[in-house]
Symmetry: C2
Subunit: 594 residues, 2 copies
C-alpha cells in the first residue's frame, strides 16, 4: 500500500531499516537470535543522521497533559453517554441519584420532579428538581462544572454517587451536543435567596465557565433544580427513563417522585413510608483491606505521634490491644514515630496486619432496604402471584463492608395461574393485562432481573454484571424453573438483587455493572439460593395444582357420562342421576390431598 509520506525527504525504503543495533546485553537480557548485523559506516561519507521517522526530541514535543474533561469527552461512552438513547437515561439517573443522596444526607424526605421536554428534533431538556438542602453558591460551578470533584469519593459510606463525575458529565454532554449552557437554581434555606446560574464547562481546563448569575424568586424554601438541554432519543421499554424511575420508586419507598414524560403525561410515584433510610455512618478503612502503598502514604500524612496511636486513629476495629499486637508481630515499637517508619518497616507492618486477627468492620455503615420494604415495593409495582425477600447479613470484600438483598416475584396473574379456593376447589384465576413494560417475564422467556447498587437501578451491561453471573450459576432447576445451561433461567419471574456497600466496585465509570469479587459472588449465591428455595416450594405446589386441575378436568368431562350410564344401569330418575353425579364429584375432590 502506498502512502503519502509527511516527511518526504525521509520516505526512502531504508527509513524502515533499524537505525542501529544494540549489542546483546550483558545483563539477563537474552541474545536476540536474529539480531541484524551492525550497520557499517561507509568510510568516505560524512556521518549521516539516522534516517528516523521521529526522534526522542520530536516525540517529546508532542507530549501533553490531558485534561480529565477532554479525556471523558472523547471517551464519553465510558460515562454512559454512548448513544442518544442511553444519554437521556444517564443524565436523569445522575441528577436523581444526587438529589436522593443530598436529601438523605440532610435528613429531608425526598420529593423529586423529573421532566423531559422535547425542544427540537432529537433534542430534549432534562430538568430534575429536588427539595434537598441546596448547594451553596460558590460550590455550584464546581459540582456541575468540574469532573472529579465531590464529597463522596474520599469517605467510606453508602451513597449513590461515589466518583464526583456523573452530573458534570451530563452537563458536559449537553454542551457537547447542543452548545447550550446548563441552568441551575439552588436555595439553601428560607433566609437565603435562590440563585440562578447559567454555565458551561471549559473542557480544556476542567472548570466551569459562568455565563450569568443572579438571584430569583423561587417557591421552594430549599432545594436544587438542574436543567440540561441535550441531543437524545426517548423510547419506552426495559431500559428507559420510565423503567429507571419505576425501579427507583421500588428501592426508595421513602421517595415521592413526579415524572412528566416527553408526551406531557404525568406519573407520580407516591412514597409508601415516611421513614428515611437509617443514616449511615462513615467508617474508617479496615486494616485488612489496606495496601502497602496506601499504608505508607497514611504513615506519612498522619497526625498521630506513635505507631500504636496511628493504627487506632486511622483504622476501624483497632484498639490499643490489637495495635500493640500488630506492632509486636511487626517487630516494631508501638511508640515509634509514624512519619519515620521506613519502607521496609512499613512492609513488615503490612505483613503483620495480615497475620493479626482483627474483627470484621462494623456494619452500621450500610443501610439495606430491608425485607419488608422490598416486599412492599415489589407488591406495589409488580403484579405477581408469589413474593419473597431476603436480606443477607453484612459481609466484607477487600476491607469494604457490603450486604446483599434478594427479592423475588413469581407468576403472572395474566398467565396460567391456578388457585385453591377456600372450599378446596382449584380454579383458574382471572387474567390480568400484559404490557411490554411488565417486569415479570412470560413463562417461556428468560426471567427479568432488577439489579440495584446502593438503591440505584442498573439498566445496562447486564451480561457483564456479577449479579447476572450469579443468577446464571445458580441451579434454578432445583426450584422448578427451566434453566438452559450457561443462560438465564426461563419463567414468569422477576428477581430483585441489591448490593449495598460503602464502595461498590463498578466495572466502569458509567456504573452499570458490578465487578465479580469472590466474596460478593458468594453472598449473591447464598441470597439467590434462599429466595429460590422459597419460590421452589411455591412453584412445586403450583405444579401439583396443575396436575390436579388436569385430573379434575378429566373427571368433570367423564362424570356426566358415568352418570348417564348409571342412570341406565340402575334405572335412576334425572334428579337421582344428578344427585349421584354431584356426590361422586365431591367424594373424588375430597379424596385428594393438598
Amino acid at each position: 500500500m502506498h502512502r503519502a509520506h509527511p516527511f518526504p525527504n525521509y520516505a526512502s525504503r531504508s527509513a524502515r531499516e533499524p537505525v542501529s543495533t544494540p549489542e546483546p546485553m550483558e545483563t539477563a537480557a537474552p541474545t536476540l537470535y536474529d539480531a541484524p548485523p551492525m550497520p557499517k559506516k561507509k568510510a568516505k561519507e560524512a556521518p549521516v543522521e539516522p534516517r528516523r521517522r521521529a526522534t526522542a526530541e520530536t516525540l517529546a514535543e508532542r507530549q501533553r497533559e490531558i485534561s480529565v474533561s477532554e479525556f471523558f469527552t472523547k471517551n464519553r461512552h465510558l460515562l454512559g453517554f454512548d448513544s442518544p438513547l442511553k444519554a437521556l437515561l444517564t443524565a436523569v439517573k445522575e441528577a436523581v441519584d444526587n438529589s436522593l443522596d443530598a436529601c438523605e444526607e440532610a435528613g429531608v424526605l425526598p420529593e423529586i420532579v423529573v421532566e423531559i421536554t422535547p425542544t427540537g428534533e432529537d433534542r430534549f431538556k432534562v430538568s430534575v428538581e429536588d427539595n434537598g438542602p441546596g448547594i451553596v453558591k460558590d460550590q455550584i460551578p464546581k459540582v456541575f462544572g468540574k469532573l472529579l470533584y465531590g464529597s463522596k469519593f474520599h469517605k467510606l459510606s453508602q451513597t449513590r454517587g461515589q466518583q464526583g463525575i456523573g452530573i458534570s458529565a451530563a452537563c458536559m454532554y449537553g454542551q457537547l451536543t447542543t452548545a447550550k449552557p446548563v441552568r441551575i437554581v439552588s436555595r439553601t434555606g428560607k433566609r437565603s435567596p435562590a440563585y440562578e446560574i447559567l454555565m458551561s464547562i471549559d473542557t480544556a481546563r476542567n472548570k466551569a465557565d459562568l455565563h450569568d448569575e443572579r438571584t430569583i424568586e423561587w417557591p421552594r424554601e430549599h432545594g436544587t433544580r438542574v436543567e440540561i438541554e441535550m441531543e437524545a432519543r426517548y423510547q419506552k421499554g426495559l431500559r428507559s427513563v420510565d423503567m429507571y424511575l419505576k425501579q427507583t420508586a421500588i428501592s426508595n419507598p421513602h421517595l415521592t417522585l413526579a415524572y412528566v414524560d416527553p408526551g406531557g403525561e404525568r406519573i407520580v410515584y407516591a412514597r409508601s413510608t415516611r421513614e428515611l433510610p437509617p443514616e449511615t455512618v462513615e467508617i474508617k478503612p479496615h486494616p485488612h483491606g489496606v495496601e502497602l502503598g496506601i499504608l505508607l502514604a497514611m504513615l506519612k500524612e498522619t497526625g498521630a505521634r506513635s505507631l500504636s496511636g496511628f493504627l487506632q486513629e486511622e483504622f476501624v476495629r483497632v484498639g490499643r490491644k490489637v495495635a500493640e499486637e500488630i506492632c509486636t508481630n511487626a517487630k516494631l515499637s508501638a511508640k515509634a514515630y509514624p512519619t519515620r517508619i521506613a519502607r521496609e518497616e512499613a512492609a513488615a507492618l503490612h505483613a503483620a496486619i495480615q497475620r493479626t486477627k482483627i474483627s470484621s468492620p462494623p456494619t452500621d455503615c450500610i443501610a439495606p432496604i430491608g425485607e419488608d420494604l422490598i416486599l412492599a415495593g415489589l407488591k406495589k409495582e409488580i403484579e405477581a402471584d408469589f413474593y419473597a425477600a431476603i436480606t443477607r447479613p453484612p459481609a466484607v470484600y477487600r476491607g469494604n463492608p457490603f450486604q446483599i438483598e434478594v427479592g423475588i416475584a413469581y407468576g403472572r396473574p395474566g398467565g396460567v395461574g391456578l388457585e385453591l379456593t377456600a372450599e378446596g376447589r382449584i380454579t383458574k384465576k382471572k387474567a390480568g393485562k400484559e404490557t411490554s413494560e411488565d417486569l415479570v417475564a412470560n413463562a417461556d422467556e428468560p426471567i427479568r432481573i432488577l439489579r440495584y447498587a446502593n438503591r440505584v437501578p442498573l439498566l445496562y451491561q447486564q451480561a457483564a454484571c456479577a449479579i447476572t453471573k450469579s443468577v446464571i450459576q445458580t441451579n434454578w432447576r432445583a426450584y422448578g424453573l427451566q434453566h438452559p445451561k450457561g443462560a438465564l433461567p426461563l419463567g414468569p419471574c422477576a428477581l430483585l438483587v441489591h448490593i449495598a456497600s460503602v464502595w461498590v466496585p463498578f466495572t466502569s465509570e458509567s456504573k452499570e455493572a458490578i465487578a465479580s469479587y469472590p466474596e460478593i459472588a458468594r453472598e449473591l449465591r447464598l441470597g439467590l439460593q434462599e429466595c429460590g428455595r422459597r419460590m421452589g416450594a411455591y412453584v412445586r405446589k403450583g405444579k401439583r395444582l396443575r396436575a390436579e386441575y388436569d385430573k379434575r378436568s378429566y373427571i368433570e368431562m367423564y362424570i356426566p357420562h358415568i352418570g348417564i350410564a348409571l342412570q341406565e344401569i340402575l334405572d335412576l330418575s334425572d334428579p337421582e342421576r344428578d344427585g349421584t353425579v354431584k356426590t361422586l364429584e365431591d367424594v373424588l375432590h375430597k379424596s385428594r390431598k393438598f
Copy 2:
C-alpha cells in the same frame, strides 16, 4: 435497625421529617399528590433550626477535588489491575505497546525483551526493554509518573496507546502493592548518556516523585527499559502473558521479541519480515464526526481568519468549494471571522455540515496488517489444515476511519483430518500433539477468537466485545460449523479479528473490549461472512472427503469378498482374482468426483 448517630442532638425521630415543604411550582412542575402539609410553627416557641442531619454548608465543606491518580487507585479494576493475575498481563501489555509505538514512530525495527522475575511470594519484577528512540530525560517522570499525559491522545492516528494512562498506571500499581520505586533507563542516541531514574508516584498530586537520577553505562545505543516490581500471580493459559506475547508476535511480524518467563525459560519470536508497517498519517477530524460543542470550541481557538479558511484548515476533505458550499448552506458568509461566530450561527454551521456531501476521510491513516502477513502469522504460530484471511476496505464511524481484518485457521492436524493425495487417494493424516495452549479449539468446543485492536491482542472481557457479538450473530451453520443459538460456534477453528482505527472505542480504560458501534458491527459481519464462506467450501469438501472415505472403507471391506465370489463364479486363478480386485478398486475410485 438502630445506629449510633454522629450528631446525637439531632437524632430524634423528627429529624426524618421533611424540614419544610415547597409550594407546588407555578411552572410545569406537577403537584406532588401526597405532598405533606406545611409544618406550622408553634407561636410561643423561639424559631427552631431545622433538625437536619447536614446542611448545604456542612455538605460544602466536604467537597473536594479528586486527583485522577487517586481516582484510578481506588478504581484500579477500570485499568485492568483488578487481580494479581491480570495485573501482570496488563503491566507487560502497557509497556510492550508503548515500546512498539515508539519504535514504529521512530522508524526502528523493534526488538523487545520482556522478563518476568520472581522476587518473593506473589511478587514479580516486570522488565521491558526496547531499542526504540528513547525518552528525553525531562519527559521520563511525566511519561511514567503522571496519569493522563501523553502524545497520542490529542491526535487522530493509529497507535496502540491512546489515553496516556497505561504505563503510569502500571507503575502506580507496583508502588501500591510493593511500595518500591520503579526503575527506568533510557538513552536517546549514542551521543547522549543513558539515564537511570528511580521514581514513585505522588498519587494525591498526580506527579512523579524522583528518588534518584544518574547517568550509567548502558550497552544500547538508544532505547528504554522499565522495571516495575509488583504483587502478581503468574499462570499459563489462554489469558496469560505467554499467550499475549504469542499473539503479539502474530500481529506484529516485524517484531523480534525475547521473553524470559518466571521459570527462567527463554522464548524468542523472531521477526518474519524486515518491513515496518507503513507509517500512518495523522489526520484532522472529519467534519461529519464533529459535535456542536467541539465545533464551537474549535471556532474559538482557530488561527484562521475566515470561516472558509477555518473549515479548510481544521478539517480533512474540505477544500474551498466544499467550504463555500457549507457556508452557503448555513447562510453564513465564507469571510466571517471565526472567533466572532455566535452559538446560533455555529449551530447553523453544524447542521449545514451534516447536510453537505463531503468525501469520506482518507485511509492512509490506517495500517492494516494485510492478508499476506495475517496468513503468514497464523501459519507460523497455529498448526491447522486450512487458512484464509480478509482485509476489508476502510470504513468510517463517527468521523473516524477504521478497517476490519479477519483471519481463520481451521482443522486440527491432530484431529480427524483427511487429505486427498496427489494420486487421488484419501488418507488419514498424521496426528499432531495437542496442548492446553493450542489456539485452535477441539471439535466439540467453542471456536477460539483472537481479538486485536491496532495490533494489540485483547485477552479479557471477550463477552463484552463487539467482535464476539458479531461472531455470535453470524450464521456459522451455513459454513459447516455447529452453532448453538446465542453462543459461539463449535469446531476446530481459530478466528483472528483485527480492528485498526485512528481511535478505537474501547469499553473501558483497560482497553479489553470494543464498543459496538453499528458501522463497526457491519464491517465485522461482512468480514466474518467472507472468511466463513471460504472456510465453508473447505469444510464441505472435508465432509465430502469423509463421506467418500467411509464409502471407500466399505468398498475396501467388501471388494475382497466380491473377488472371491467372482473367482468361484468365473473360475479365476489367484493372480487373475487379485488383478480383477485391483481393477475394480481403481475404477470405483476414479468414478468419484472431487
